[in-house]
C-alpha cells in the first residue's frame, strides 16, 4: 500500500519537474519555431551572403580564372561576416521580453540551456549558409574539387562561429547599440576558424589531403562547445543582473 | 667594446638606415611619453575637482 503511494508521489513529482533534456529540447524547439515564424532573421544572412558574393565579380573581375583563385577565401570571409551580422539578434528579443531572465532563473543548468540557444541559432543561420555556399561557389567559379570540402569545413566551422559569437552577443545584449561593437570584439577571435576553413578549401582545390585542417576545425568545435557556454552563461547572468 | 661610429653625423646617418632607426626610436619615445603624461594630467584634474567639491561643501571661513 505504502509502496504504491510513494510510487505515485514520485510520478507526480516527475511530472511537475522538467528534466534537463526536456528543458534543452523545449528551449531548442521554441527558438527554432520563433526563428521560422520571423523568417527575416533566418533569411537575411543568406541574402546578405548572396549579395556580397555578387559584388565580388563586379568589384574584382568577372574572369573565371581570378575568381576561382579567390573563391575559397571569399566564400569563407563572407560566410563569417554573415554570421557576425546575425549574432546581434541572438539574445536580443529574449532579453527585451524578459524570457532570458526566466531561463536563467529556471532550475535547469544554464550551461545546457545556452547550448540549446546557440544550437538553434546555428540551425537557423549557420546551416542555411552552409547549404547555400556551394551554389555561390558556382557563381565564383569554384573548381569542382572544392565543393565537398567547402560544405564540410563550413558545417564544422559555423558551429564554432556561432558559439564564439554568442559570447559577444551575451556581453553586448544589455547595450542598446551593440551591433558594431559585437563585430569588433568577436572578429579577432574568428581568425583561427577562418584560416583553417579557407585553407581547407584551398588545399582541396590544389589537390592536397584535407584531413588535417578538417580535424583541427573539429577540434576547435569541440573546445568551443565545452568552453564557450561557460563564458556565455557568465556573460548572460551579468547582463541580466544589471 | 667600442663605439661603432666615427662621428656624430655618422651616428645620425647610420650608413643610410638612420631615418628608419631614429624614426622608430622617436615614435616609441613619443608613445611612451604620452603614456607617462596622461596620469599626470589626470591627477591635476582630480585635484582640481576635489578642491572645487571641498569649497562647495565647506565654504572658506
Amino acid at each position: 500500500m505504502s509502496a504504491v503511494n510513494t510510487n505515485l508521489d514520485q510520478q507526480s513529482i516527475e511530472q511537475t519537474e522538467i528534466s534537463l533534456m526536456q528543458g534543452f529540447w523545449a528551449v531548442l524547439k521554441r527558438d527554432v519555431v520563433t526563428a521560422f515564424r520571423q523568417r527575416s532573421d533566418m533569411i537575411n544572412p543568406v541574402v546578405f551572403f548572396l549579395m556580397v558574393v555578387t559584388m565580388m565579380p563586379l568589384g574584382i573581375s568577372p574572369e573565371a580564372k581570378s575568381l576561382s583563385f579567390l573563391a575559397p577565401g571569399l566564400l569563407w570571409v563572407i560566410a563569417l561576416l554573415a554570421t557576425l551580422l546575425s549574432l546581434d539578434s541572438l539574445f536580443r528579443s529574449d532579453y527585451e521580453d524578459g524570457s532570458l531572465e526566466q531561463v536563467i532563473l529556471s532550475p535547469q543548468s544554464l550551461y545546457f540551456m545556452v547550448i540549446a540557444k546557440v544550437l538553434s541559432h546555428w540551425l537557423t543561420t549557420g546551416l542555411p549558409l552552409t547549404f547555400v555556399a556551394p551554389l555561390l561557389g558556382v557563381l565564383l567559379a569554384l573548381p569542382a574539387e572544392g565543393y565537398l570540402p567547402l560544405l564540410g569545413s563550413l558545417l564544422l566551422g559555423t558551429v564554432t562561429l556561432s558559439l564564439v559569437g554568442a559570447i559577444g552577443a551575451a556581453l553586448t545584449v544589455s547595450l542598446r547599440k551593440g551591433g558594431l561593437l559585437l563585430s569588433l570584439i568577436i572578429m579577432p577571435l574568428y581568425v583561427p576558424v577562418l584560416i583553417f576553413g579557407a585553407s581547407c578549401v584551398r588545399m582541396a582545390v590544389e589537390g592536397f589531403a584535407i584531413g588535417g585542417p578538417l580535424a583541427i576545425l573539429g577540434a576547435f568545435c569541440a573546445v568551443a562547445i565545452v568552453l564557450a557556454p561557460l563564458a556565455i552563461a557568465g556573460a548572460l547572468r551579468m547582463s541580466v543582473e544589471a | 667594446m667600442k663605439f661603432q661610429f666615427e662621428s656624430i653625423a655618422d651616428l645620425l646617418s647610420m650608413s643610410g638606415h638612420g631615418p628608419y632607426v631614429w624614426g622608430a626610436y622617436f615614435v616609441t619615445f613619443v608613445a611612451i611619453a604620452t603614456l607617462i603624461y596622461i596620469p599626470y594630467k589626470l591627477k591635476r584634474q582630480i585635484v582640481a575637482q576635489v578642491k572645487r567639491q571641498q569649497k562647495i561643501e565647506k565654504p572658506a571661513h
Binding site: L171, S199, A242 | Q4, M14, V21, Y25, T28, I36, V50
Partner: protein
C-alpha cells in the same frame, strides 16, 4: 595559511600607500636600464652583417612585443582575480592594463614596419608574427571598446574581464594558426630554451632593454592604477585628505 597580505592587496588605499614608496624606485630602475640599453644598442653593439644598422630597431621592437603579449595576460589574470574574489583593485589594474598594452602593441607594430622597409623593401609584410601582433592589437581595441560602452562601472568591469579571459584562451590558438598559415617568416630570434641565434654582443643590450621595458611596464601600470584609485575613490576621506594636503606639494614637483 596567512592570507592577510592577499586581502590587504585588495584595498586600494593600501596599494596606493605602498606604491608611493615603490614607484620611484621602479621608475628610476626603468629609466636607468633603458638609457643604458639604448646607448649600448644604438652606439656600441656591433653592426649586423646582413641587415646593417637597421637591426638596431630590435632593441625596442622585441621588448615592446614581449610586453604587449605579457600585458594581455596581466590584464586577463587581473580580470579573473576580480571576477573570482570580487576585488575592486584587481579590476582597476585590468582597466589600466588595456591602454598600456595597446600602446605597446602599437609600438611593436610601427617599429616592425619601419624595420621591414630597409630589410624587406616594404613597410608591411604579412609575416606570421606581425600578423599575430596586429590581431593582438585588435583584441586590445575590442576590450577597450567594450569597457567604454557601458554606463555602469560594475558591468563594464565584469564584461571586459570575461572578454579578456576569452581572448587569453584564444591567443595561443591564434598564434599557432597564424604560424601554420604563414610559413614565410624568420625563425624566432631569441629563445630562452635552446641555443639562441643572436650574438652575445647584441644579446646583452637586448636583455637589458627587455628588463628595462618590464620595469617600465610595472611603473606605468602602478602610475595608471594609482590614478584610477584616486578617480574612483575621490569621495572617500583618505583621498580628500591626501589631495588637499599634498596638493600644494605635488604642484611644486
Amino acid at each position: 595559511m596567512n592570507w592577510q597580505w592577499f586581502h590587504r592587496l585588495g584595498s586600494p588605499r593600501w596599494f596606493y600607500e605602498k606604491t608611493s614608496r615603490w614607484s620611484p624606485w621602479v621608475g628610476t630602475l626603468a629609466l636607468m636600464t633603458i638609457v643604458i640599453g639604448v646607448i649600448w644598442g644604438l652606439g656600441f653593439a656591433p653592426e649586423d652583417s646582413k641587415q646593417g644598422n637597421s637591426y638596431r630597431i630590435i632593441f625596442i621592437h622585441v621588448p615592446a612585443a614581449f610586453l604587449a603579449l605579457a600585458g594581455y595576460y596581466v590584464m586577463a589574470i587581473a580580470g579573473a582575480v576580480g571576477l573570482i574574489w570580487r576585488m575592486k583593485l584587481s579590476f582597476m589594474v585590468m582597466k589600466c592594463a588595456a591602454p598600456i598594452g595597446a600602446v605597446l602593441t602599437f609600438i611593436s607594430l610601427v617599429t616592425g614596419a619601419v624595420w621591414g622597409k630597409p630589410t624587406w623593401g616594404t613597410w608591411w609584410v604579412w609575416d606570421a608574427r606581425i600578423t599575430s601582433m596586429l590581431i593582438l592589437f585588435f583584441l586590445y581595441l575590442g576590450v577597450i571598446a567594450l569597457q567604454g560602452a557601458y554606463q555602469s562601472r560594475d558591468l563594464s568591469n565584469k564584461s571586459s574581464a570575461i572578454l579578456s579571459l576569452v581572448g587569453m584562451i584564444n591567443i595561443p590558438i591564434i598564434y599557432k594558426s597564424v604560424d601554420w598559415w604563414f610559413t614565410l617568416h624568420q625563425p624566432a630570434t631569441l629563445k630562452f630554451t635552446g641555443p639562441s641565434s643572436i650574438d652575445p654582443s647584441m644579446a646583452y643590450p637586448l636583455l637589458i632593454m627587455i628588463f628595462g621595458f618590464y620595469c617600465l611596464y610595472a611603473w606605468l601600470l602602478m602610475k595608471w592604477t594609482r590614478l584610477e584609485i584616486l578617480e574612483q575613490e575621490q569621495k572617500t576621506n583618505w583621498v580628500k585628505e591626501l589631495l588637499l594636503t599634498g596638493g600644494i606639494k605635488s604642484s611644486k614637483s
